[in-house]
Symmetry: C4
Subunit: 359 residues, 4 copies
């Protein structure tokens, strides 16, 4: 049993303090970061007993892709900063755990290498749309050619949130690491300590297309020929707009509390998105999911699956590709345990009334 509760502590022993701050921090007062966790905890579970749970399955599908458990790998940046195995290690770990990895645009290893490490396991690609649409289309073609089967379009980052830890640290990639899938001029341009504040913020605000509207979804589906998952939706009306514009699925997310300071917790936003979508597309959720009971809570609120980011990075930092596998296995195992203790033999047995009304 991997101990998710002490995972951050173990990762902290190996990560550079600036890298640790980069991964664990949030924006502004970090209330969204804390509230993400607290909102799941506040949802208390009303388990069923005396149901046959001698055989519990956590298996499900996401966009028709089978996964061993409804726990996917959220896109996170710079895996070589966490461990020499890099994104390839994460891909291998995810593959061995029967999960889906979402590879970040800010990968430090080429998508082809990462796909090869996954050895045929499902790989999705998270996309920041660059102001240069031509360049973006080329990137999309490349990741498709590499074997990615879905695009995860991040929509909550027209500008970078103010992450004070990074600003104070002057956070930047160390020499030798690069964002390998951004235009060349951006790849190596934030040498550690070169300028005050966060180099990432300067980079994002220069390159990311802040003008895009829901029309980008159709454009991306057309140029990419892949299903487009829209990540970063926190409202029912926005969810409807995305679905009508062609989204294949949605991720209710506040970017792990790293973007809008004061954003609503995802556990609070999820029900209205599920309600608005009304079953037309799958809805996933991320942010503060720290164990199997949180997975069950998310399912009870109508999510199809969750994504986990920081714990996967911590697993990578602590143990390379095997650490990633162990973390994902621990989530699956803890989800099975929570299902069993809720009297649910499968994810289909999870119903909304497993959650108590709040006092």
């Amino acid at each position: 049993v991997i101990d998710l509760a002490t995972l951050e502590d173990r990762a902290a022993e190996t990560l550079h303090p600036h890298a640790l701050d980069y991964y664990r921090g949030g924006s502004g007062d970090e209330s969204a970061l804390a509230d993400n966790v607290a909102a799941w905890t506040a949802l208390r579970l009303r388990p069923h007993v005396l149901r046959d749970v001698s055989s519990v399955s956590t298996a499900t599908t996401v966009l028709a892709t089978p996964v061993r458990a409804p726990v996917l790998v959220a896109p996170t940046a710079y895996h070589l900063l966490a461990h020499p195995d890099g994104e390839s290690g994460t891909a291998r770990g995810a593959a061995e755990a029967g999960s889906v990895m979402v590879l970040s645009t800010f990968t430090t290893q080429p998508v082809e290498d990462v796909a090869r490490a996954g050895d045929g396991a499902p790989l999705w690609f998270q996309l920041y749309v660059n102001k240069d649409r031509g360049w973006t289309a080329e990137l999309v073609a490349r990741v498709r050619a590499a074997g990615c089967t879905a695009l995860v379009l991040t929509v909550d980052l027209p500008v970078l949130g103010l992450r004070l830890r990074d600003e104070r640290n002057g956070f930047a990639l160390p020499p030798g690491l690069a964002r390998v899938h951004v235009p060349p001029a951006s790849a190596y341009d934030d040498d550690l300590g070169a300028s005050p504040g966060s180099a990432l913020r300067a980079h994002v605000n220069r390159d990311v297309d802040a003008s895009m509207t829901e029309d980008v979804i159709g454009w991306l589906a057309d140029v990419g020929g892949l299903p487009v998952v829209v990540k970063g939706v926190l409202r029912g009306d926005d969810a409807v707009r995305c679905v009508e514009a062609g989204a294949a699925a949605l991720v209710v997310s506040n970017h792990g509390g790293r973007q809008l300071d004061g954003a609503v917790a995802t556990a609070r936003a999820l029900p209205e998105v599920v309600d608005a979508v009304d079953g037309r597309v799958e809805v996933y959720v991320d942010g503060g999911v720290r164990g199997g009971s949180d997975v069950v809570r998310a399912l009870a609120l109508g999510a199809r699956a969750v994504l986990v980011g920081r714990p996967v990075v911590y697993g990578l930092a602590a143990g390379g590709w095997a650490g990633v596998r162990d973390v994902l296995d621990a989530y699956a195992e803890d989800t099975a345990r929570a299902l069993a203790l809720c009297g649910a033999a499968s994810v289909d047995d999870v119903t909304a009334d497993l959650l108590a009304r709040e006092p």
Copy 2:
């Protein structure tokens, strides 16, 4: 006056750190453990004054068995780990305090010895149903022959909750101690430190029948010829299922916050169970009951009695059989005090409106 508030501190002086962790810990983030206590505290009391409370009686009955106070001994495991008096000491202490002891399947002393120590006092037997139903039936026959007058069927443990303290400690019984009422192969098989993680978890997940449904209640009543109290119910619909399947009483319990991570506090679940049962059977409650005012709160919500687990173990650890008696006497005395200060001369005078509406 025994000081329940410092009882854990006193026990901590005598218990092995791993044993202390085993008793005091909960599962997952331990929010259910904390919430159990907080939920009682949040229920504020509206006492009556100027009523004749010159003579206060805490006496009541459970399953027609008279008890000095509505405070029973919850089943807890491994009493020899706490004190050389073991379960026999607990039985003697409970007998002297006029309470009912519920003996755990995971007793470290034979039921016959424990019953003898109780010297005719009421003894109930907590049952984990083993995958081997024949073996289970034999155990039930044995405990009945030993004088147990009710079976307390635990239904919230199809698998073991993830108790991180025990996992970290590699918790297991020390050499010389055994679960004397489990199949021989399981009795001595978790030598301290033999394997990583909790030996108890491995054991439970191998032996306990996770397939049982409410049908087990009738089967057990038939083979045992004893009333079956179902322990671990947190929902009204489950309560109705149990009653219709033949339960003689219910215990609203989340296993002391040790099973489902995030389970609703028992004080929150109690009202819906009482409401659903509608007087057909007695309803008890456990979890976080830390004094007489909590007992009165439970009665005001419709419970017939409470069970206390950890405090009894701490009393045993601190003072052997006499410590158990002192703890139960302290609960009875504090219940009498709370009744008097609520203007109630007996448990029948406790009404729902003693509780304030929450703001």
Copy 3:
């Protein structure tokens, strides 16, 4: 300006640790003690502006007795334990501040001496009704002869609350101090350290009449010929019973969080009592009133006045009779300030809508 916020700190420098624990402590988990303060704080004020508050009066009357401010001295025990000035010092301080002192049955100086120190200032007497009604009647006659003009009947102490600090300390009066108005056998019988636990608890449980009902109010009015203020009411139905039995006024009180463990905060109970009484008698309140804004909150909820206990004792400990005067002056001054800042030129200008609805 006396600094009420640091008053306890200053008193702590002079009081014996056991005495300090006796004064500052509460019963059980001390949640009622903490909740009393928190409940006032939670009531946020919606002040009026642009009203003429160039002249603010805090003057009012209680039972037709004029007081400089709606802040009375709550009955508290053993003033010689706090300072050599004893209850006489408190009486003098209260007199100089234009307040009313309520003298405790557990005074350490004779009522006649205390009345003399007050020099004609209004003095009320708090009464615990002894099992010996004849003795009680004699005491009432004596305090009336000494000049007391009202009886404050405490009804929330049929038995003593479990005050764990005192139990742990074996709290008792030191040699030389006595409860001078209890039957002789009780006066000197709790030598420090003579027995485990609280001597006060043993004493109270032996002597106080736990059988009394609302009939005692009429009896007391008859034998005493004085208005009877009933202290310790927390419910509307009890309030009505008391009024119909002849109470001249009520004090909403949970005995400073020292009696029923888990009792509702007085700020929460006050509205229902005010509502039930419907103007027939005056309603006072005590518990956690720590400044002028709390006084205004109490008035806004319908109280006629508040009583303060611990701060007066701390003032006595820190500065003798002058310390008591300073504390009461500080309350009056802070009440004037709060009134002015609420746009109220007098207590009559305080309306219920000064309080915000809670979110």
Copy 4:
């Protein structure tokens, strides 16, 4: 990027401890101070995504005066205590940031000098109405002649709140500093340590007109010939009174938690004031606004702009006039960021439904 979160820490390095306490402290239990911040944080944001925010403008107007962002400089006293640049520094910083400075009556530099430092930037004057109306009229004429274009009438200070830090410190202006716009007798009369308690409190309570009602608004508009902004309103009914008496705008304020102990948080009071005013005048708000997300929250609740006090003083302390500019620029930049991340290209795009309903 200036780091608003650590601004107070940096200011603390340069300010005299008494000055720091004066600026950071609140009245009474400081619950209003803490609640101001907490109330904004509790309002969680529901951002829109996929809107064109490639060009975000924070520009707006206040009383038809264009400002670069809806963030004004709240009136605060004694800027020479914070930095040798004094109020002139603040004026220059505000001017460079495109904001409006509200100069306090308790300025330590003459209004003419301050206006000159602002070099034509909009300057408003905060007014305490002195008991001497003739003197007040002269002051108003003077500030108008100096170029002030609005009067900000403070109405929540008929008497000074009890600021315990200042009382304990015996806070007073050091030799050489004076309130240059109060009657001569008051300017220099609080030498440090000359008397116990706060010299400011003595001064205010002697000079400020506590008798004024809403009639003062019309009088002030007449004698001043300037729009009158009423600052310190926390209720809808008072807001209506002020509007009907001629107020040009209102500031929902509890004086930064420095006046009425226990006053409602401004974020809680704002909606009822906005509702009552119903668009007839502009409504501003101050208190606990600590970043761009708070600005957006205020706009979503119907405020036209916010005022910030302490952060500006801290910026002045840490960096003189440039520090003020940096702080205001940081607010503007963070507001732009929050707007972008909410999918709002301008302040007009902020709607009430950006705020989540509280659970």
